[in-house]
Symmetry: C2
Subunit: 215 residues, 2 copies
Amino acid sequence: MSETKSGATQTPTRRRREGPSKGDLKKDAILDTAWQLLGTKPMTAITIDELSTGAGISRSSFYFYFDSRAAVIRALADRTSVELSQSIRTALTAATSPHDAITALNRTLLARWRANGPLMRAMDVLAENDDELRAFWRGVTDDVVRAGAQSIEDERAAGRALPGPPSAMDLAVALTNMYWRSGQQASLEPGSEKDDEHLIETLTAITLRAIYGQP
Amino acid sequence: MSETKSGATQTPTRRRREGPSKGDLKKDAILDTAWQLLGTKPMTAITIDELSTGAGISRSSFYFYFDSRAAVIRALADRTSVELSQSIRTALTAATSPHDAITALNRTLLARWRANGPLMRAMDVLAENDDELRAFWRGVTDDVVRAGAQSIEDERAAGRALPGPPSAMDLAVALTNMYWRSGQQASLEPGSEKDDEHLIETLTAITLRAIYGQP
DNA sequence: ATTTTTCTCGACACTATGTCTACTATGAGG
DNA sequence: CCTCATAGTAGACATAGTGTCGAGAAAAAT
């Protein structure tokens, strides 16, 4: 609660030129504080005051770094959306069968909800107001959807999946919505690892049936 | 914007005894104002001031009727959750085949999202903070889930549906999540009637495959 | 060493929430 | 018709948060 400054990214070599400026460190400190607070309370309950004192600066100095609280969330989201896309991509390429791929995808998504739940929920809420954030968020989910639709089309072309309608795209959108809400709900409660695996199995089973019919 | 008072529920016979008291009318006027404003802006952007002037009372008088803005939403939700349960029940009993039932359910849900989208989204956001609201909301969705799980179990008992796993309950929860998010997303954009029917068909197709395998 | 850019903070103006207190209608019982 | 309890009303106040401005300190570049 009182780890004032420099809880940010590390500077191993001591004050080299070209290293992150003092301001960059403060910016990171704000982000870290926000991240930490998001674990304890919902986004809307976090004040600029908490953010700034957490980062060891005055409230008005905060505005040197960010325009608003929403901007902080956006910056935080930038950080994690890359991780998300990345981990999905690797999960999918490692899989050998459709069943594996879908299980891996769901495991990854759920892990992301568990790790970043408060942030992702905050983004969803803010997106209703903030146009820029909505567009950004949209881009992230579209990636997932597009990848899914492509896989379904491949499977259909190979004659393994049931033909449409629904189109591969519609299927991918709806299933992603299912994953989304399921993950969001899961992130609101503690939930044991066993529960999570159970959920993953359920989502995978539904997905397989939706794409292939009964196994 | 300036229809000060008595935009509330009508009092056809003029000031009869046992009729709603003046205060009840004002309370309704607040609710109506809130409802109206929810159509134009997100819940969090509505101020007590707008609510009270919309109802033709002073800001401080507002607090005679409601404790907070969240209380207004809760009251509004009470109104509509009854409609929701009701319309789902009638939609399901009128159906003759599973396909009909699922289509009807989805049509009803989507219609509710279109009619009450801003309110339902507001509830979802507030539920993260407000315990009472969360419990209430939970109760509403549980109704839908339970009804769905029961239907699936009946179909399995009759040998028509694919057996589990996933259990009927798990299936119902996950599919409801899909409907939920799909409806929520739809309510954020205009969307033609044709788009809605298309979405309903997609959701129905997935549901049928998830329960029965291919048709 | 000085100039420029980065960073800092106190002071201010503004908006919103919620409480408290005293006042004014309203209407039921005498 | 009075009269008095209660429902309803609003102004003043206390509090909390947001965001802006301008004066200046600290750091970096020249």
